[in-house]
Amino acid sequence: MAALVSTREPLLVFVGSGGVGKTTLAAATAVRAAREGRRTLVMTFDPSLRLKDALGVGEEARDREIPVPLEAPGTLHVSLLDARRTFDRLIERYSTDAAGRDRILANRFYQQLSGSLGGILEYMAVERLFEVASGAGERFDQIVLDTPPTRQALDFLEAPARIVGFLDSGALRVALKPWFDEAGHLKATARWGGLGRRVESFLDEVVGLDLLREMAEFFQAFAPLFTGFRERAREVEALLISSRTRFVLVSGPGEEAIPDTLFFARRLLQAGHHLAGIVVNRVHPRFDLPAAEGSRTAEETALDGRRLLAWLGERDERGLAALASLAGSRQPLLSVPLAADEPTDLPALAALGDLLAERFARASLG
């Protein structure tokens, strides 16, 4: 089995737009790594039921790394990333006392913040990555990390820098001042008399004092945790740009996916990340069939699945050629053909992992 020089680094990160199949490719790569003899962990966000079945893991993988029963010289573990649980766990671990912990967990601002809303998933992925990576050396040779299914896939990479930026900005210092008195009124406004009351009612009108009160309370309860956050975010940031971390950029096929792919590639390189390669996934095969014939309209062509497939094959071939000329030769560019069915078991994942490894080896040589 040919070793994969470019994808053997301790941390391999799969990035790309949502729906391009990066979770499956990350899992397949991890299976391959275990079969090459490495102790491997794949961390993923949102695997399909089918992929969970294929790996033989369930919800328990949200709390710990679950071993996958794989006949291989190495080992494979799976961990599912869950923003809310990671956040709760983090607070329990770093809170100085039970009362402080309960204050945070009960805070309405926190409850909304750690729910489904933007940015927090990426942020928590960073925390989870730190959790695992900091003790990983002894347990794993390689971590394969799948990134959250956001449209702005790079939010994840920028999360550590954003956290540090936020912690270093004046906003936090201001937020941590004791703004409110015991009765829940703004302290300053009490000192200023009538004018102060007008300021208070103005603030209440615009943003609502309830919200400000909860935010202030949240930041105060959270304050003891902040120093640790900064250090961890910095360490993860350093890890993500070190040469021990490689990125695999996964793209959909066809010309319409190219602008996003080029944008991601440029951003990764600009930020100093190391790109192992660009994988164009689910490329339709070429068929020897004319996609369109003279008078045939698009709607008529679409009635014949064979001609539709011929058109898709041509489209994807054009897309690959265009991407190759635009992306340049700084990193390998490889394609993975469309499979009618997603892998539903370990042998199928292993086969996909092998195919990806072969194409990587070929693209790196060429």
């Binding site: 949102d46 909304q112 449209r151 698009a298 001609r307 539709l308």
Partner: protein, 307 residues
């Protein structure tokens, strides 16, 4: 259970088009916009994506946020949530210098970036302003806003945001607007939810989760489901003859069989008003939108759009 909408989409004020990234939400938003405008509604289609794919679909140059005309009774706008919030604050803080200082302060920026639900609320708030004629001078009078919703997470976070914001901000312009928008979104006679999906496992899973969450949090269901990107049905005649020796036919049959399985999963959960859209050999643009619209209008479920 019959799941047809309380009234046709064409009679609603707000149509929120939800779905996972890459399923064709933008094409569906554009085709609904074109159909409603033709039916006489003054319609604005709004997107929340700096790439402005909606503009491409409607054949309009990127605008950077301005309201642009895309046809008779049809307009398009690219929304930046931050810009909408900034506008609201500027309107409130009437002294220009003070407003600029507020907008530039890191505390304000961190607050508006981090406050739960505020961005989502701002997007819906802009729809509300357009509908109530308060979107500023020069904005056209609008009967219907179609919102091509952001792909991140479930559309539920977006739809639940006004109620969340209204709960914490009880007075003032933002509070009043949040309450009004929450009421609009909860009213099935004024707001419709359209869900777009591909007939693939993950998008279908997300639709089922969205429908369940909508029911739990807002007591309503998607009014219309659009299954996009379908291969044509595989003809039985082909299965008998050439199929095994023709790799294109083999792949066609398997891809369509997988799509049928996922459509079956959707149908098994409850009865939707569902429009099926074909996979078409066309690039993003007005030609694709027109062809998809022709395909949609021929179907029984189109009565959910125009009765």
């Amino acid at each position: 259970m019959d799941n047809s909408p309380a009234r046709p989409l064409a009679a609603c004020q707000l149509i929120v088009v939800t779905g996972k990234g890459g399923v064709g939400k933008t094409a569906v938003s554009a085709l609904l916009g074109a159909a409603l405008a033709e039916a006489g509604r003054r319609t604005l289609v709004a997107e929340v994506d700096p790439r402005e794919n909606l503009h491409q679909m409607l054949g309009v140059a990127p605008s950077g946020g301005e309201i642009l005309r895309a046809g008779p009774r049809l307009w398009v706008q690219n929304l930046s949530p931050q810009r909408v919030i900034d506008e609201l604050v500027s309107e409130q803080v009437k002294i220009g210098l003070v407003a600029r200082r507020v907008l530039a302060s890191p505390i304000y920026q961190q607050f508006t970036a981090g406050a739960p639900g505020l961005k989502e609320m701002a997007v819906l708030g802009q729809a509300f302003r357009l509908l109530s004629g308060r979107a500023g001078t020069g904005a056209p009078a609008i009967d219907t806003v179609i919102l091509d919703a952001p792909a991140t997470g479930h559309g539920v976070a977006l739809l639940a945001a006004p109620a969340l914001v209204a709960e914490v901000i009880r007075s003032g312009p933002i509070g009043r607007m949040s309450a009004a928008v929450a009421e609009l979104v909860a009213d099935p006679l004024r707001t419709a939810v359209v869900t777009v999906t591909l007939a693939e496992e993950m998008p279908v899973q997300e639709v089922l989760e969205l429908a369940a969450a909508l029911e739990e949090k807002l007591g309503r269901r998607p009014d219309l489901l659009v299954a996009n990107g379908l291969f044509p049905p595989f003809p039985p005649a082909l299965a008998r003859d050439a199929a095994e020796s023709d790799p294109a036919a083999v792949l066609w049959r398997r891809l369509r069989a997988n799509q049928d399985r996922e459509l079956g999963r959707l149908a098994a959960t409850w009865s939707w008003s569902r429009i099926d859209l074909p996979l078409l050999p066309l690039a993003r643009g007005p030609e694709l939108v027109a062809a998809l619209r022709r395909a949609a209008e021929g179907q029984a479920a189109w009565k959910a759009v125009r009765s």
